[in-house]
């Protein structure tokens, strides 16, 4: 017993063996264990307490001293131990159970993983291996292939898994199944920057981590992450952000040459414009209710037409002017045949004045004045030798007097393919041919000369053969043409030239001619003429700037639209919330301060859009940090900057049916 004084004696207290796995079964029944203990295999070792020894004629007990020494009664006569016990069922010690439980846990885990962790068929939308729900956008399309939609090794065999484990993932490729950009998906900002040749390849998962829940924001980025690549690292917009560029927000001259300073200070002050000038400052022209990146200007009709519409119609496009001739290049017969009534008709008419009048009227369309027609007729008859009298044409010594003393306009030079418009010898015949062609075939020959040019159809649109015939015939007869009524605009021929009068702003014909020059279809002289701000046809280029793309001389680009030139792919700015805060009125000058001394107009004398001066002083960074600073309005990078270059989808809902992009 535990209270015995001699309980520590070595014959009363044998060694405990906690390193053995089994213990006597009687112990688990709260009884006394036997002296021998279970054997290693788990069987009972104490069925009999001793192995009796036959000595000197009788059996003797040989129980070990640790079990109590020899027993009193001694073995049975047949040599069996007298203290036999039914075998116990040895039980594991707690440690033995622990070992078994651990094995069981290991086996269970491996079995469960084997049973449930391989769902390679992918039919399930959600795998038990998924570490979190996909965002709702991505969750819907994984139906067919399941996880393998993005994860190639899913459902693969062991070899696929081993190679996938040791190689980097191909998720960027999976993303590009649907997402596209205007540049490479693995380049920073999807751009190729010239400076850094060793640009780090980007992967989608560097910034966008999926499997964070259906409502997770996977496009959120922290400011510090931008510092990962940017060499100039700083803590925040108001704390180290590089200064804005010199003319911010202008990076190039305006598309439309509108000098705010001169307009507001000078032109609007003129008395004649008192009723037409804008009532307010900025918002009279800039539509603040549609303020986004730019605050768009109202259309020409609403904002500019009041003063500038009339100008447009005052500048004609001169296509052809009858040049001076030294001698008559025209063949009278041919002209007469082309222009006048036929010889038969005249024969038939004889000298019948009425018939002649009829013929005359028919020939002239009943429009010309009788005496002019009569003059013409007489001239013809003289030419034909029918009528007696002095023909205009000098026979001996009388000089040919050209009705025109002009030179060819540059357009005509271009159309005829001549070098210049002053070499009479050079242009004599071509002009004659052209006029004859004008008479006989109308607008077609002219159009034929410009075939192949862009917008060729527009160049002579609306030109009627009638005008050409009448003018041509007059000029072929060395006469001045009689101008038709020309106030309405459009094609008309005056005394000596073929012209086009722009009807209104954005006249397509003039526009086509100006475009032609921009496209390089005209020589330099013609181009300069067409692009003259002071004198160009339609006054187009007076306001619309002509821009040369960087490093090129042609083709030029004419800025027809306001604000179409912005190429800031990575900058996001919206006027709307700012105006909403400041008021839709004339709060623009809070940030856009007028620069009175800028040489604005000088910029429009050349084609380089980047060499410019803005009407407005550049916006200082401090203007922004007044509000966008620490502990004030948010100033995170992604507020103003967009990382991706033209992000979009390869397949989208479109109004026009077209093949999805590959």
């Amino acid at each position: 017993m535990i209270t015995d004084q001699d309980r520590f004696r070595q014959d009363k207290s044998p060694y405990e063996r906690p390193n053995f796995r089994y213990r006597c079964g009687r112990v688990s029944l709260w009884g006394k264990p036997c002296g021998q203990g279970p054997n290693d295999a788990g069987g009972c070792g104490g069925t009999s307490e001793c192995s009796p020894y036959f000595d000197d004629g009788r059996w003797a007990c040989r129980r070990s001293p640790q079990s109590g020494g020899s027993c009193e009664n001694g073995p049975l006569p047949d040599g069996q131990c007298c203290n036999q016990h039914p075998p116990c069922k040895p039980t594991l010690t707690l440690r033995g159970y622990r070992a078994r439980l651990t094995m069981l846990a290991a086996v269970l885990v491996v079995a469960l993983i084997g049973a449930f962790a391989f769902n390679g068929d992918g039919a399930r939308a959600v795998s038990s291996l998924s570490p979190g729900a996909l965002t709702s956008g991505h969750a819907q399309f994984t139906g067919e292939k399941g996880c393998a939609t993005c994860h190639a090794p899913h459902g693969g065999d062991a070899a696929a898994w081993v190679s996938a484990a040791w190689s980097p993932n191909a998720l960027t490729q999976s993303c590009q199944t649907c997402h596209k950009f205007d540049g490479s998906a693995t380049a920073a900002h999807n751009e190729t920057f010239k400076k850094s040749a060793d640009q780090r390849q980007t992967q989608c998962v560097m910034c966008h981590a999926e499997h964070k829940g259906a409502n997770a924001n996977i496009t959120e980025m922290a400011d510090q992450q931008c510092n990962a690549c940017h060499a100039v690292k700083f803590a925040g917009f108001s704390n180290g952000h590089p200064d804005f560029s010199k003319n911010y927000p202008s990076r190039r001259r305006t598309a439309i040459a509108f000098n705010h300073v001169t307009h507001f200070d000078k032109y609007f002050a003129y008395k004649q414009f008192a009723d037409r000038k804008p009532k307010e400052r900025c918002v009279s022209c800039h539509d603040a209710s549609n303020a986004l990146r730019n605050v768009p200007v109202r259309p020409f009709e609403e904002s500019c037409a009041g003063c500038h519409e009339k100008q447009i119609s005052k500048r004609d496009l001169v296509v052809f002017t009858l040049p001076e001739f030294e001698e008559d290049p025209f063949d009278a017969v041919a002209v007469g045949e082309a222009c006048g009534p036929s010889a038969e008709m005249l024969e038939a008419a004889g000298e019948d004045a009425d018939k002649l009048q009829e013929i005359l009227e028919a020939w002239s369309g009943g429009k010309s004045a009788p005496d002019a027609a009569a003059k013409r007729l007489q001239a013809l008859q003289l030419n034909l030798g029918r009528v007696e009298g002095e023909p205009k044409k000098a026979e001996d010594g009388e000089e040919y007097l050209s009705v025109s003393e002009e030179t060819l306009p540059l357009i005509a030079v271009m159309l005829l393919g001549l070098e210049d418009g002053e070499d009479i010898d050079a242009y004599g015949e071509p002009v004659r041919d052209l006029v004859m062609a004008m008479i006989e075939e109308g607008a077609e020959p002219l159009a034929a000369n410009v075939e192949g040019q862009p917008d060729a159809k527009m160049l002579f649109a609306g030109l009627s053969s009638d005008i050409l015939r009448r003018a041509g015939c007059a000029w072929a007869a060395n006469q001045e043409n009689e101008p038709s009524a020309s106030d309405a605009g459009g094609w008309f021929a005056d005394e000596l030239s073929l012209r086009y009068r722009p009807l209104r702003h954005a006249d397509p014909v003039v526009k086509a001619w100006v475009q032609l020059a921009a496209a390089g279809g005209a020589g330099e002289g013609l181009r300069d003429e067409l692009f003259s701000r002071a004198k160009g046809p339609g006054a187009c280029v007076k306001c619309h700037s002509v821009n040369a793309p960087k490093g090129q001389t042609a083709p030029l680009r004419i800025a027809w639209k306001f604000g179409a030139q912005s190429s800031q792919r990575h900058l996001r700015y919206s006027h709307a919330p700012h105006l909403g805060l400041l008021g839709l009125g004339n709060s623009c000058e809070t940030c856009h301060k007028v620069d009175q001394t800028a040489a604005y107009d000088a910029a429009f004398k050349h084609f380089d859009a980047l060499d410019f001066a803005s009407n407005f002083k550049s916006i200082d960074q401090k203007t922004c940090t007044t509000c966008h600073a620490e502990q004030q309005v948010r100033q995170n990078c992604t507020l103003c900057h967009q990382y991706h270059n033209g992000p979009g989808f390869k397949r989208r809902m479109t109004t026009a049916a077209r093949e999805p992009q590959k």
Partner: protein, 275 residues
């Protein structure tokens, strides 16, 4: 003896400081990785896995005491420090207290169970021995059944002797009806573990209920029986506390095996799918 108690104080402190340093380093490294658009879960994950393996090695170390390697008490200090570090590292790695994803949730649950059982076990290891030392007797756990058997036999023989001597079987009947249950096996386990005295209370109450019906002669026997009952209370207390000190490991060790295996699979999955 105070000097002894400080023997592992220094290792524990130095492991603690090292753990803090390691945590700060790994956290800083993870943050740098995140700032460089890398994957911070890589460094925290592998650190966590290494910690789990090192923690699991403790079981093997315990079998290697015959070889002159580091003392088991220093190893335990390391185990505790590494365990706490692993919990902190787990939260750093997972980013949240409870992840989404069924597999990760199972892994997290197993990890929490292992950690909680570990902490509970450590607390038990510090508190129960004190209680054991305060019991008047000291007995080896494996000898308790034999001891109880002896006590039981003694009580039964006393009851029989009482009946024989006095001719009255009150004591014997009381033994059959009430005391036999008490002496059959260890009782009042919960009370002994919690430090209460429900056993003594019972002995003084229902256990001694028959005393009022006894004469002096019987009382002599009965008091001896109750004395043996008091002895049994002490043995029971040893049983309860020592058994708990052994049994908590039956939860902790198998769970830790499970968590390591589940973590190995997690490692494989992450490398196949995400990295």
């Amino acid at each position: 003896m105070p000097a002894q108690r400080q023997r592992t104080f220094l290792p524990l402190m130095s492991f603690g400081v090292t753990a803090v340093v390691v945590f700060v380093l790994v956290a800083w490294s993870a943050r740098r990785s995140w700032l460089a658009l890398g994957e911070p879960a890589i460094v925290t994950g592998y650190t966590l896995f290494a910690l789990m393996l090192l923690l699991g090695l403790f079981n093997i170390r315990k079998r290697l005491s015959m070889v002159p390697i580091v003392r088991a008490s220093v190893w335990l200090a390391f185990h505790v420090a590494a365990g706490v570090l692993a919990i902190a590292m787990f939260w750093l790695h997972a980013g949240s207290v409870w992840p989404s994803g069924l597999y990760e949730q199972i892994l997290t649950l197993l990890f929490y169970l292992v950690s909680v059982t570990g902490i509970i076990g450590y607390v038990l290891s510090r508190t129960l021995p004190r209680r054991l030392a305060q019991i008047e007797i000291e007995i080896i756990f494996e000898r308790i059944p034999a001891e109880l058997a002896e006590i039981r036999e003694k009580v039964e023989s006393l009851a029989l002797a009482c009946t024989q001597e006095t001719g009255s079987d009150t004591v014997a009947q009381h033994h059959i009806g009430t005391l036999a249950w008490f002496f059959a096996r260890p009782r009042f386990w919960v009370s002994h573990v919690a430090g209460g005295d429900a056993a003594g209370h019972w002995l003084r109450g229902p256990g001694s209920a028959a005393r009022r019906y006894l004469n002096d002669a019987e009382k002599t026997y009965f008091d001896q029986i109750i004395e043996l009952g008091v002895l049994k209370c002490q043995v029971d207390r040893h049983f309860a506390c020592q058994e708990l000190l052994k049994k908590w490991l039956l939860v902790h060790v198998p769970l830790s095996m499970a968590v390591i295996l589940v973590a190995v699979w997690h490692l494989i999955l992450v490398n196949v799918y995400a990295l």
